[in-house]
């Protein structure tokens, strides 16, 4: 029996900034946002002026001002890369409550361009940073500066508990690249597109440069430029549009911790809780899912997440990739765009998950963007999971194709 919010709204369009990836000409995060929103408006035929709710990570008021709109529902939830899955959850609730009929979820992040022009925001982990939160105060002395250094601890614990080898997880990186070679929009589509692009082997993943043992660089996502936006609408508005709706059957969110210091079980995330909420709302379970889009900031993130989503047994998540099920032509496609490992990852990857989910379930993956055609699967249901922070926060969606 589905919950009250079951199919209370649909994603009715998904678009990206004009150019994404490792851009030669630097762009700002705001430009990436605005391009995606403009493209979304053209795709759906919904004028920007008709947007009633705006959901973004801390940018919402500036975005609205830039667009010249004054929405009646504003949400700036910013809890890491899963924020956008949570935004969909929040928009679903706002639409169900009758407050709004049309919601915009948007993200732009110049992860690559910020190296030359700034604008991404960096935490102060230098000497003498002033009084911080106690969690930062008690961890800032120990030199972990980035996500790889944090996530590596979870991988070691996962390997310790389940007796897995690093190579087991390397298959996730290899298969993600297989998908990317089918997607011309992927940053690692080909050697022509990027010197390190094109197919890779498990051996190459294993032998690449160490970032934070056991993570080599090919176990880690990229840092690119990306902008994306999706439009969410009530059933009534969805019925009036020419785009195909992809129904939000279930949504859930949860968190385990903020600082990794507070992670009780390094082999598990709150995706189990957010997925349970989403499955319950949908009246469906893992066995009803025909594909998955999961946050692969690192290979270990994806492995743990599919276990939490009930798609694999504990300690066996990597087998979905190793045994070929998640790969092109496999029985359970995962991360069909190439993922954060090989498609695009600007810093917070939750938006590309939504965009790919919309394309697959609306059957528009092969329509292409800027003439670049993606790879269409036959899936009619998809579980989408975003993970934010240091395996901290999660948002899960169960999306289904229109009947």
């Amino acid at each position: 029996m589905p919950g009250a919010l079951f199919k209370a709204a649909a994603i009715v369009g998904a678009a990206e900034a004009n150019e994404i990836g490792f851009l030669k000409t630097p762009v700002t995060s705001l430009q990436l946002h605005i391009e995606a929103i403009k493209n979304l408006s053209e795709q759906t035929g919904v004028p920007i002026s008709r947007i009633e709710g705006v959901f973004s990570t801390g940018w919402s008021s500036e975005l609205c001002e830039h667009l010249g709109i004054r929405p009646k529902y504003i949400d700036t939830t910013s809890v890491g890369g899963c924020s956008f899955e949570m935004h969909v959850h929040h928009a679903l609730a706002a639409i169900h409550a009758g407050i709004i009929d049309v919601a915009l979820v948007s993200h732009g992040e110049n992860g690559h361009s910020s190296r030359s022009i700034g604008g991404r925001g960096m935490g102060n982990y230098g000497r003498g940073g002033g009084v911080a939160s106690p969690a930062v105060e008690m961890t800032m002395a120990y030199g972990i500066a980035g996500a790889p250094g944090a996530y590596a601890h979870a991988m070691v614990r996962h390997m310790h508990r389940f007796g897995t080898k690093r190579e087991d997880y390397a298959h996730i990186a290899k298969v993600s690249r297989d998908w990317a070679t089918l997607n011309p929009r992927a940053a690692m589509y080909s050697k022509k597109k990027h010197p390190f692009g094109g197919p890779i082997t498990v051996a190459q993943v294993e032998e690449s440069r160490l970032i934070a043992w056991p993570l080599t660089i090919l176990h880690c996502c990229m840092v690119t430029d990306h902008g994306g936006a999706v439009l969410i609408a009530s059933p009534k508005v969805a019925a009036s549009l020419n785009t195909k709706p992809v129904w939000i059957a279930g949504a859930g969110e949860s968190m385990g911790h903020s600082n990794m210091l507070e992670m009780d079980d390094f082999t598990a995330t709150s995706a189990r809780a957010s997925a349970e909420a989403a499955y319950t709302m949908a009246g469906m379970g893992p066995s009803d899912m025909e594909m998955a889009l999961v946050y692969d900031s690192f290979t270990i993130t994806a492995a743990i997440t599919v276990e939490m989503l009930g798609l694999a047994r504990r300690g066996e998540g990597h087998l979905l990739w190793k045994d070929g099920h998640a790969a092109p032509g496999g029985k359970f496609p995962i991360n069909t765009n190439g993922g954060g490992l090989s498609f695009n990852h600007s810093g917070m990857y939750g938006m590309p998950l939504l965009i790919e989910a919309y394309r697959q379930l609306s059957g528009t993956a092969e329509d292409g963007i800027n003439g670049d055609k993606g790879k269409q699967t036959s899936a009619r249901t998809c579980v989408v999971n975003g993970t934010g922070g240091s395996l901290s926060t999660t948002g899960t969606l169960v999306l289904v194709a229109d009947d």
């Binding site: 002033g130 009084v131 105060e137 961890t139 590596a152 601890h153 991988m155 070691v156």
Partner: protein, 138 residues
């Protein structure tokens, strides 16, 4: 030689901890109602939500919960890479982050989850001594 790595600024409620470090003591916050130790220091007990908190002297003993080898680091830590970071399960309960001592970053396979560790302190400044944990038994 003066300490060149990042040194935290003591917060408004964590001074007993840093005073302890200067005396070579690992002070830990404990709830007087549920008797559980928590880390990091809170304004409220995360287990039972009591505000009756006290500081106790910990044993300085623990075990490795998990670890990683940082091959890429920024700022003052950059020239120390590779180094081994670890989450340490405290004998009193809960967990601390540290940089491990007494281990070889080039041989992570020799580092054992569950190995016993002991705290030691290094002067980061006159006020703040930094806890580091050393493997005392493989």
């Amino acid at each position: 030689m003066s300490y060149e790595l990042p040194v935290p600024t003591p917060g408004t409620h964590t001074r007993p901890f840093w005073e302890g470090t200067r005396a070579g003591k690992l002070m830990l916050p404990r709830c007087q109602d549920c008797n559980r130790v928590h880390w990091y220091p809170r304004f409220i007990c995360p287990h039972c939500h009591s505000a009756n908190l006290e500081w106790i002297e910990g044993s300085g003993e623990g075990t490795i919960h998990t670890f990683a080898v940082q091959h890429v680091a920024y700022g003052p830590w950059a020239k120390h890479a590779p180094f081994v970071t670890a989450y340490v399960d405290l004998k009193e309960g809960d967990r601390m982050l540290t940089v491990l001592r007494g281990v070889d970053p080039a041989k992570p396979e020799d580092i054992r989850v569950g190995a016993k560790v002991r705290v030691e302190f290094e002067a980061g400044s006159d006020d703040v001594h930094i806890p580091f944990w050393r493997v005392v038994e493989g």
